[in-house]
């Protein structure tokens, strides 16, 4: 049984806007183990980024607020920590990298300065050693001529280099958890492959866990050990990657996997799609949030939210169809 | 000789046309409605509009609402402090300050309007041609604009007035000369961006001429920054015109023009401060109204504010 690094229970995050309260996360339960790559996959707007930001507590108020739940990390509930205590963890024990490396760096400071900044803050290094370590970190992520890159400004580097630099910055203080929010979405396919390889490599070398947020099932298959499928603010299915891909059980997951075009498909077969569209989270459907689009919806699905049930091999599912108590 | 048949448009046909027009412009009308609702949400912007309307009304209705005439003098009532007969007191020639301020609003609003409209027209022509055609024409026109901008505007205006004579008309002329470069810059900037848009290529592909493109595409798209700038400039022009009159380059001594009134009353500031105070407040309020309104307009046109 692997070690649990982060334990999330009942996480509810809401956004209070002019037009109503957006119930972005509706009670997320999730465990992240040590040295694993856990993927969170889902359509745009399903809440995967919000989950990531909630863990690191970067939800800005206004308009967002984490209203309920607990996130246990190293024996402490992150949601109950003071701002100062949380800041000691960010960039240090838990780091995050973002989607657009081009705009995620401050344009008026050099790369080296920005990496050194996090080292001086959390590791109490002086400027000289921090700068040296920054160069080391850049080399660590496979950047050629790291001294030159350290002296460069963000606009002078390509997207791929910048993403590597971001990873260097995030790993500089040897965090236990690296949250990657769609890190390759803004990059070319070839660069994407390199970055994913890099991440796998680094995870092995540093022993960190990675929470990989993406909408791309291909990335999940490539990089992740386990994956959680999210829909409309809830986790509908969670399990080892192979299990999810080969034996999807939740109707949404089935639809998702089924909609991937296959190379050996007859070119005349229509692609399977999931009818309907993602619900408005200000007024989400009652009961199971997926029921209006579910071909196997039952009466109870309209009234009660399904609870998370554990099947074999750590495969979990939130669906009344698989709930013993219901069926 | 047979009478030419007159074609009359029946009422039904008219209604049909109106309905057609409404349908065609439906999205623009919805946009407008949304903009108005957004505008009304900001109390400061609405206040600005209210002030502008107030001054407009004062200016238009001046002959009927002023208790005293514009040049009316009462030599028995010189330098009297505010009272029931004279709300803002009287000046050194017995004129009622309150009435003269209302009369002055006519001149100020008139000057402001004329200058801004002229500046827009001149600036648009120069900026539009410059930005649209680019190249040498652009370079030359921009150098010219730079020269005008490099001129200390107040001094330029003063020189024009000194040369041509001190009057409100010359103040307007002088201010037109100093104000058009700003609009030329704005329009040119817009022209440069619009020029690169795909729909210009498309318009050309279906045979649009340069003039057509300038009028149908360039100008409407430059509208919003020009509107914001011109609203705030209205206030600034009123300020500058008053400043010019204050130092003696505008309206004649004794005229009921705000700047001149402050300058005439300045010598008596220490003993009879009401003349300067109330007149200056009028200038301040008028300018503030335009600035608040312009600021509100700028906010609603900001794409980030629009949902």
């Amino acid at each position: 049984m692997a070690d649990v690094l982060v334990s999330i229970r009942g996480l509810k995050t809401n956004f209070y806007t002019y037009v109503g309260v957006v119930k972005a996360l509706d009670g997320i339960d999730l465990d992240i183990y040590r040295n694993e790559t856990l993927g969170l996959v889902g359509e745009t707007g399903c809440g995967k980024s919000v989950t990531a930001l909630s863990i690191i507590r970067l939800i800005q108020w206004p308009p967002g607020r984490i209203d309920e739940g607990s996130i246990i990390f190293e024996g402490k509930d992150l949601l109950k920590l003071s701002s100062d205590e949380m800041r000691a963890i960010r960039g240090n024990k838990i780091s995050m990298i973002f989607q657009e490396p081009m705009s995620s760096f401050n344009p008026v400071f050099t790369i080296g300065d920005q990496i050194a900044e996090v080292l001086m803050l959390h590791q109490n290094m002086d400027k000289k050693s921090a700068n040296a370590k920054a160069v080391e970190m850049l080399a660590f992520t496979g950047i050629p001529a790291p001294e030159r890159v350290a002296r460069s400004y963000p606009h002078e580097l390509s997207g791929g280099m910048l993403q590597r630099a971001m990873i260097s910055m995030a790993l500089a203080c040897k965090p236990a958890l690296l949250i990657a929010d769609e890190p390759t979405t803004a990059l070319d396919v070839t660069i994407e492959a390199q970055i994913l390889e890099l991440m796998k490599d680094l995870k092995a070398k540093t022993g960190a866990s990675i929470l990989m947020i993406t909408h791309d099932l291909g990335i999940i298959a490539e990089v992740c050990d386990r994956v959680g499928v999210m829909y409309a603010g809830t986790i509908v299915e969670l399990g080892v990657v192979n299990d999810i891909f080969e034996k999807p059980m939740h109707p949404y997951t089935v639809g998702l996997i089924g909609s991937i075009p296959k190379l050996n498909q007859d070119k005349n077969t229509r692609l399977d799609t999931i009818p309907g569209s993602v619900p408005n989270l200000i007024n989400p459907p009652q009961g199971c949030r997926f029921h209006p689009r579910c071909s196997r919806a039952m009466d109870i699905c309209k009234k009660e939210k399904p609870r998370m049930v554990e099947l074999e091999n750590g495969h979990r599912i939130a669906c009344h169809l698989y709930d013993d108590r219901v069926m | 000789m047979a009478m030419a048949e007159t074609v009359t448009i029946t009422r039904e046909e008219k209604k049909g046309r109106i309905r057609q027009w409404l349908e065609k412009n439906d999205s623009r009308i919805k946009d407008l409605q949304y903009s108005i609702r957004l505008f009304l949400k900001s109390p400061m912007a609405v206040l600005g509009l209210a002030i502008i309307i107030l001054f407009l009304l004062l200016a238009i209705l001046a002959p009927w609402i002023t208790p005293y005439g514009e040049m009316e003098r009462n030599w028995y009532q010189i330098m009297k402090p505010p009272s029931a007969e004279h709300f803002f007191g009287t000046d050194d020639m017995g004129g009622d300050v309150f009435s003269r301020i209302i009369w002055g609003s006519r001149i100020s609003l008139y000057v402001g309007f004329v200058v801004v409209v002229s500046a827009i027209i001149i600036g648009s022509i120069i900026g539009g041609i410059s930005g649209y055609f680019g190249g040498i024409i652009d370079e030359i026109m921009m150098r010219v604009t730079d020269i005008f901008l490099a001129f200390p505007s107040l001094i330029l205006a003063m020189v024009v007035c000194a040369a041509l004579g001190r009057s409100t008309e010359n103040v307007m002329l002088a201010l037109c000369i100093t104000w058009w470069p700003t609009y030329a810059r704005i329009i040119r900037g817009q022209a440069l961006t619009v020029r690169e848009q795909k729909y210009i290529e498309a318009a050309r592909a279906v045979g649009g001429t340069d003039l057509h493109i300038i009028t149908r595409h360039l100008l409407p798209n430059s509208l919003s920054p020009v509107i914001v700038q011109s609203t705030m400039d209205l206030g600034n022009v009123i300020l500058t015109a008053a400043a010019l009159s204050f130092i003696g380059f505008g309206a004649q001594p004794g005229a009921a023009e705000w700047g001149r009134m402050v300058s005439d009353g300045a010598q008596f500031m220490m003993t009879s401060p009401w003349i300067v105070t109330f007149t200056g407040l009028a200038i301040l309020l008028a300018c503030l109204g335009f600035n608040l309104f312009g600021d509100g307009l700028r906010d609603i046109m900001d794409p980030k504010m629009r949902r």
């Binding site: - | 001094i155 040369a163 041509l164 008053a242 204050f246 130092i247 402050v262 220490m270």
Partner: protein
């Protein structure tokens, strides 16, 4: 292109602009209908014969274009002519006398603007839509709507007449001679900047006088620009705070103070600095009104008198000086901008 080349190129571009300005001013001042161009030099007793001499001496009977070229050739020898409104003393001398006064006033105003305006703008941005923000917005909008001349009069009324705290005008108390200093190796005894001069002369009493006299005029002049800078800082701070790199900075665990004052501010200052630079020119313009009301012996007042008397040599001289300053400040601002923002290249 390197920085040095860029600066040289810009300085060279200064020449056509200046020529353009002198051209326009010259023609404007010399095209007054029905006006006798010899007027500045005429006195009551001038006989027609003497007048002829004057006309010949100043080439007033020749075509305008020729006169313009005479002017340009004088200019190249730094001869700006004689100031008719100043009793015929050389324009260059008059400028040397009056410019430091305006410079001192303008610099003080600029300092007030920056030291007050930027913090106000930052606070306004941080507390967006709360009451400090609303107050600052109202204050800014009022600031740009206030007539400078009226504000000056009100200030005089309140602080001089009613509260008796500040002097009415002028640079020093009546009867006080300007400070002079003597330093080894330097043959200059005063710069015209009284603050500097009184410090160098070790006369703290004159220093406090000069400072007191400086308060009202510089505050008056600064008020409007202060409002503009506060607004500018506010909007550029808000813009900066919405950028992605702010989220990155927070994710690194940096304190909110560092995020705002290091990461956001450094970016927000870029557009603000350019505005400040350009404002310098505007301040010189606004000085005209302020100097008149506070009896400040600067080029604002000088130019007003010169224009009234149609003393073209002085008008040309002042315009030229102001234009040069404007162009130089523009250059300085562009260079500063490039220094602050590494994305700018001089290509």
């Amino acid at each position: 292109m390197k920085l040095r080349d860029y600066i040289i190129r810009r300085l060279l571009l200064l020449i056509p602009v200046l020529i353009g300005i002198t051209f326009i001013t010259f023609f404007l001042t010399h095209s007054i209908p029905g006006y006798d161009p010899a007027t500045p030099w005429l006195k009551e007793k001038t006989t027609p014969a003497a007048r002829e001499l004057i006309v010949k001496q100043h080439h007033l009977d020749e075509p305008i274009v020729i006169q313009y070229f005479y002017y340009l050739s004088d200019l190249s020898r730094l001869d700006l002519g004689l100031s008719a409104s100043e009793g015929n003393r050389p324009v260059v001398d008059a400028l040397k006398d009056y410019f430091p006064a305006t410079l001192e006033l303008t610099i003080t105003s600029l300092l007030i603007c920056i030291l007050l305006g930027i913090p106000i703008g930052i606070i306004s941005a941080i507390k967006k839509d709360k009451w400090p923000d609303h107050i600052v917005r109202l204050f800014s909008l009022t600031g740009i709507s206030i007539p400078v001349f009226w504000f000056a009069l009100i200030l005089q009324y309140v602080f001089y007449l009613k509260l008796n705290l500040l002097p009415l005008g002028g640079r020093l108390d009546i009867g006080q001679a300007p400070p002079t200093f003597s330093l080894p190796f330097i043959d200059v005894h005063s710069t015209g900047l009284y603050i500097l001069d009184s410090i160098l002369a070790g006369r703290l009493d004159i220093l406090s006088q000069a400072l007191l006299h400086l308060v009202m005029p510089s505050f008056c002049l600064a008020f409007i620009s202060l409002a503009v800078i506060a607004r500018m800082t506010r909007s550029s701070m808000l813009e900066a705070l919405t950028q992605d790199f702010i989220r990155t900075a927070r994710s690194k665990g940096l304190s909110e103070g560092v995020v705002i004052f290091k990461h956001a501010l450094r970016n927000a200052l870029i557009p603000t600095t350019t505005v400040i630079g350009l404002m310098f020119g505007g301040l010189l313009s606004g000085a005209v009104l302020t100097e008149t009301i506070f009896f400040w012996p600067g080029i604002g007042r000088y130019s007003t008198r010169a224009i009234s008397a149609l003393d073209y040599s002085s008008i040309m001289g002042v315009t030229l000086l102001v234009a040069i300053i404007y162009v130089l400040t523009n250059l300085l601002v562009d260079v500063l901008y490039a220094y602050l923002d590494p994305r700018i290249k001089f290509g």
